[in-house]
Symmetry: C2
Subunit: 211 residues, 2 copies
Amino acid sequence: MEVKDYLRILRDEIHSTVFATVDDQGLPVARVIDIMLADEYSIYFITAKGKEFYQQLMNKQYVAISGMTSGDGSLSKKAISIRGNVENIGEQLLDKVFEQNPYMLEIYPSKESQRALEVFRLYQGNGEYFDLSTKPITRHSFIIGHSDNIEKSLEYGYYINEKCVGCGKCYTTCPQQCIDMTNVPFTIHQENCLHCGNCMSVCKYKAVEKR
Amino acid sequence: MEVKDYLRILRDEIHSTVFATVDDQGLPVARVIDIMLADEYSIYFITAKGKEFYQQLMNKQYVAISGMTSGDGSLSKKAISIRGNVENIGEQLLDKVFEQNPYMLEIYPSKESQRALEVFRLYQGNGEYFDLSTKPITRHSFIIGHSDNIEKSLEYGYYINEKCVGCGKCYTTCPQQCIDMTNVPFTIHQENCLHCGNCMSVCKYKAVEKR
């Protein structure tokens, strides 16, 4: 899938997500926020100037978003998590937000009551897609916009190096059995890894590293 | 509703929630995590020692949680957000977690693969319940455990003081029409307020304060 497909899932299939920010004491805050619009490169949401959420967005210009599709039971779900930089674009696109999300008129019915609202855009960041319905689970990483730091974040995970002797101890503790033992050094299927760390903690040869 | 009822909704009706923490750079991180157990005073969840999430929990001993019931459309949902202190209780209750959430065996099938898992307990904090299906929306605050700081947080919101002259300008901009104009000074129905801040921004008499 391409980035725009993940953003479309967020807007259309998940829609109601959780947004996380950080308060003045450096502690996390989370609340449900809907994804109002999405285009090829960004997602848009709104909030009101009087909210703590608004202040926290303005302070850090950064947000973490996570949500999942609905479905029967945790193992039928697809989850998307994104974190990155946001900018306030004021009343730009506010009409379009209400056009495409008419239920918002139930909450902010009059133009007078909408005066507190401003639109924010997430334009750069990195994301992860989890499909819990596959076995093993599937994980994909993606990037929104461009940034060297963000591209580095795609490497995050556990990797087996040249010290591997092929003993297979790691495989016995891997919940997803996603270690390929065809060749030594073994390799970890990054797209199935849960990042539990079992392989690293049981390897006597220090052949597993965390990046 | 009592605290245990909110915690029960989190465990049974919402179950899959988003947990927010803060990374080494002071930026928010969010991911989907299930609520494994709940009792009268706390909720329990698990994670694996190899995950960044685990490290972030150990560093701050604090988490923000938010989730919503499923339902057709954003305005049929009930949302709960909680933030507060967590403690690592190790493997205590891990057997009970798997007993009551047998689907977790699909992800961590063997005892060997479960060795990375530890149980965390949120034992103290404050929460908000939003019912978006009522009109106006309904908001309730609640406390888990005891702490003076946390009890102060229940006052958070907008309040009208003695400077109110009863002009009614605030009412015209209130999206929820939750300002009671029976007596001067007017009062804000805290349980319906969206915290948009419109009333404060339009009041010429500085009669609206934010606490």
